[in-house]
């Protein structure tokens, strides 16, 4: 018996995809708006939210990868060029990796700076004067722009498929038949 590929992603995959989008955008906006604030008590609440969103993103991206392996998925959409097709596949995997690494580097920073007891435990200890004193902050800062670049590439490619190749690619990542 031959199995045919579905035309659309499974609704679980669709939900997890858009959830990751929301979480990454939220974490990015929070991180950016927070970076200008002084490291005093007023930063604790936004930091707690940013860290919570980061941990939730890690859980969701791992779940998404596992479901990707388990659930049937449509064939890779061809751009009509072997090199671009290869780039497309590589970008998908790189997106998973960078979202994962962003969260893990954030966790590393939290451990290096001892943030959990300060932010969630109410220890009363002050936040570090400068997060850039920690190697993990540099790593976090290198990965995020790389992720942003890949997201732009991913969105650009999706729009190219949708409006230039007119293959209705976006409908694959939405609900319905």
């Amino acid at each position: 018996m031959t199995k045919t590929s579905p035309k659309k992603y499974h609704p679980i995959q669709v939900t997890l995809h858009w959830l990751v989008v929301l979480l990454v955008v939220a974490a990015f906006v929070m991180g950016k708006s927070m970076s200008g604030l002084p490291n005093d008590a007023n930063k604790l609440a936004p930091l707690a939210l940013h860290m919570s969103v980061g941990v939730f993103t890690l859980v969701v991206i791992v779940t998404r990868f596992i479901t990707r392996m388990k659930l049937p998925k449509p064939e890779h959409a061809s751009a009509g060029n072997a090199f671009f097709d290869w780039i497309g596949k590589a970008v998908h995997y790189a997106l998973y990796l960078l979202v994962f690494l962003t969260a893990v580097s954030g966790m590393s920073l939290s451990m290096q700076a001892g943030l959990v007891p300060i932010v969630f435990g109410g220890s009363g200890s002050p936040l570090p004067a400068d997060f850039f004193d920690f190697t993990a902050r540099m790593l976090h800062g290198f990965i995020v722009p790389a992720l942003l670049l890949l997201v732009l590439l991913h969105v650009g490619a999706a729009l190219y498929h949708q409006f230039m190749l007119k293959d209705n690619l976006l409908s694959r990542m939405w609900y319905g038949r």
Binding site: V62, F100, L101, V104, S105, S108, M111, Q112, G114, F134, T135, A136, L139
Partner: protein, 122 residues
């Protein structure tokens, strides 16, 4: 009997968990009794997490990408060891170099197991 590929997966899991543990403890301020480079615990923690989630799973599932992932991880660790030798020779602790070398040795065993497994299936 557990296959060579799965044995390699278990070894990768062990080396990954140890790396997470050592990196995590050092990042949380644990003093191992010798000076540790600032970036080394972060490297250990991140690579440990990646090891548990990528090569370990690929090896356990006996994926066709398992060999490539093991080779990449061995390459990254070899690169980091060379970097320590060349750029941080004066500041890196002997114990850190010993740990890096031991990890490389485990990865060599993993690569040997993968090779043996591939040869057996040919």
């Amino acid at each position: 009997m557990i296959s060579k590929m799965k044995t390699a997966g278990v070894l990768a899991l062990v080396v990954g968990v140890l790396s997470i543990f050592a990196g995590g403890m050092a990042m949380r301020g644990w003093n191992p009794g010798y000076s540790v480079l600032d970036w080394l615990p972060v490297y250990n923690f991140v690579m440990g997490v990646l090891t548990v989630f990528i090569p370990t799973i690929l090896l356990w599932r006996e994926s066709r990408h398992a060999g490539a992932s093991a080779l990449i991880f061995f390459g990254v660790h070899a690169g980091a060891t060379v970097l320590l030798l060349l750029a941080f020779r004066d500041v890196v602790a002997t114990q850190s170099m010993l740990a890096m070398t031991s990890r490389l040795a485990v990865w060599l065993v993993i690569l040997a197991l993968i090779r043996a497994s591939v040869q057996k299936t040919k």
